[in-house]
């Protein structure tokens, strides 16, 4: 009987969605040539697709609710398989070694094209880890993150254009400018409540982009800046292939640096304060934490990484224009963080790899990339708000009474 019931429900959902998508999926009017195209196949696809998806949806919702009850009964932290594996030192260590070997040989095994895609993915890893400080740790939804990325990219492009400064000079400058802009933009807005903060940062992001687009004398307008030099290699001339590999290794270095710094920040006095601020702002202030300063530090540190990543981006593509810095770029980075797991470093890395590499390798996907990103955001929030890898709080061991080794598990 249950089965019949379920089938009926799904059938209704499927009819509803066929109705809902009918004008947009089925009919295509060309108002210039006055022709209409009827795409009945799409209707069948929607009907069938929504039938199964609604089954799956209800199954997942039920599973989630059951999971919640179980957690209440067991009254403890449940670790998933991945989390348990990650807590095992041997597994973690061999994982790291494998990843390191893979990273080292990657550009020599795969083609230049693939190396170049990997560089893009690594840039997203960096941005994701930076945004993770802001969203994952401090719980501030920053939708204008890409503005700082633009700051980095444009600072390299313009400083190079006008003064000829090199990539290696630009990298710290981009980071510093990112930090500065973070403080500057963050200061007025961080008093705002969560959702208003999101909108205002979105506003700032768009303002910066629109200014870049309209202020021709400064930014060369929509046509952008071309011929940005790639990173130099101790004065040697490199072929395009060599320089790609070189950029790849610079990126690996930067990502390792980022992981190191973010990891340390996470386990520090400041990192704890960020998380506490995310959990309960009022209690946090009442415990003696300066809300504004703590938020500002998260915002600005996040922006620093965006600035550095922006310099990298300019150096990799050698051409930038405002079109690369739309709000949707911010949303993609948000997607990386959300999919991977807010607050979890490994999660963010995985998230970036999945979201950036998959659409590149599965060509059929790439057209649907943005559609899928949108769906990922919704589905993750509904079914797995913690992300693929939910962050586990650090635990401390106490041998006997009040003695510690303070080691993390």
């Amino acid at each position: 009987m249950r089965v019949a019931e379920e089938l009926k429900k799904s059938a209704l959902v499927s009819i509803w969605f066929m109705f809902l998508t009918f004008p947009i999926m089925v009919i295509r009017v060309n108002t210039i040539y006055n022709t209409v195209e009827w795409r009945w196949l799409n209707m069948a696809l929607v009907g069938g697709g929504s039938f199964f998806l609604s089954m799956l949806w209800r199954f997942m919702i039920r599973r989630k609710e059951r999971g919640k009850k179980k957690a209440e009964i067991k009254d403890g932290v449940q670790l998933t398989l991945i989390q348990r594996l990650m807590q095992n030192r041997r597994v973690t260590l061999s994982g790291i070694v494998l990843a390191a070997i893979f990273a080292m040989i990657y550009p020599f095994v795969f083609s230049m094209y693939q190396t170049s895609i990997m560089i893009t993915a690594l840039i997203y890893v960096m941005c994701g880890l930076g945004l993770n400080i802001v969203i994952g740790l401090a719980g501030l939804l920053d939708l204008g993150y890409v503005a700082f990325y633009a700051v980095g990219a444009y600072s390299y492009a313009l400083l190079n254009y006008h003064f000829g400064i090199s990539f290696w000079m630009a990298l710290p400058v981009g980071a510093a400018l990112g930090f500065m802009f973070g403080v500057l933009l963050g200061f007025p807005v961080l008093r705002l409540r969560g959702d208003y903060l999101a909108i205002v940062t979105l506003g700032f992001g768009e303002i910066i982009r629109l200014v870049l687009e309209n202020w021709n004398e400064f930014s060369h307008g929509p046509s952008g800046i071309a011929n940005i030099p790639r990173p130099s290699f101790f004065g040697y001339d490199l072929s395009l292939q060599q320089v790609t590999i070189w950029i790849y290794f610079i990126m690996i270095g930067l990502v390792i640096f980022t992981i190191f710094v973010v990891g340390r920040l996470q386990n520090s006095r400041l990192g704890r304060a960020w998380v506490a601020l995310r959990e309960d702002e009022i209690a946090c202030q009442a415990m003696g934490i300066d809300k504004t300063r703590t938020k500002l530090s998260a915002f600005a540190l996040g922006a620093t990484w965006a600035g550095m990543a922006g310099v990298m981006f300019a150096a990799k593509t050698t051409f930038i224009n405002p079109a690369s810095f739309t709000i949707w770029e911010s949303v993609i980075i948000l997607c990386v963080v959300v999919l991977g797991g807010m607050g979890s470093i490994v999660g963010v890395i995985l998230g970036a790899m999945v979201l950036i590499l998959l659409p590149e390798y599965l060509r059929a996907f790439s057209e649907y990339r943005m559609l899928l990103f949108g769906a990922v955001l919704v589905l993750m929030m509904v079914f797995r708000p913690g992300g693929i890898i939910t962050n586990v709080r650090r635990t401390y061991r106490f041998k006997g009474k009040a003695t510690t080794d303070g080691s993390s598990a």
């Binding site: 006095r269 990192g271 704890r272 309960d280 009442a286 510690t404």
Partner: protein, 270 residues
Amino acid sequence: MAAAHNFGKDVLEVRSLSMDFGGLRALDKLDLSVRQGEIVALIGPNGAGKTTFFNCITGLHAPTEGEMLIHPPNQGKTQRLNGLKPNRVTERGLARTFQNIRLFPNMTVLENVMIGRHCRMSAGIPGAIFRPRSTREEENQVVDDSYAMLEKIGIEQFVNELAMNLPYGAQRRLEIARAMATDPFILLLDEPAAGMNPQETRRLDELILRLREQEKISILLIEHDMKMVMSLSDRIYVVDYGKKIAEGSPEEIKRNPAVIKAYLGEEIDA
């Protein structure tokens, strides 16, 4: 027992404190003081303005008028609390708990207490990244201190649990531990026994008395449990509609006709 104590001078002094929410006067020219080592209770019917009083002195609300002064027991320099941000108030030595528990639910019990130590630590961004010796030592010290605090409050068995998974009574205690971790000289407790069973309440009584003895702090307590209030307090303030209607020892309060009228129907003799 109240008479047996010999209290020091005032550590908290509030003069003529008023607070308006739009047209509503939640506090009306309230005077209140707490002396060194004293346990003072602030009681009154629901909506009397007790929590609002806490919110004003801890900097969460800006009072409409009035003066709030502290005289820290050791340094002795008098300071005004008016206009200070909540974190500054805490730094100066006032710590509070909340009526509706406000822990950091997804952090562990130990981390909750470590947050309390935050304002007594100094490491900044460079410290976090380079982790010099001083930062490492500070971190270890905080872990030790926090664990010791958990033991003092009696919830060390939960050390690595997430705060949200704690039983209710333990959550209340954790709030106290977290507040105590900030090294206050006055502890403000907002209905610490709410929702506890009689046995838990009794253990809480002991804890409060012990904290006063061992930590040499003063305590300002909001509580509806009259039995607890009468047995613990040295002095009681009664407020109704934001106004002070009585002040005195438990014995005096029990006999006060104004109090009996305000509490009409509620039992106050314990």
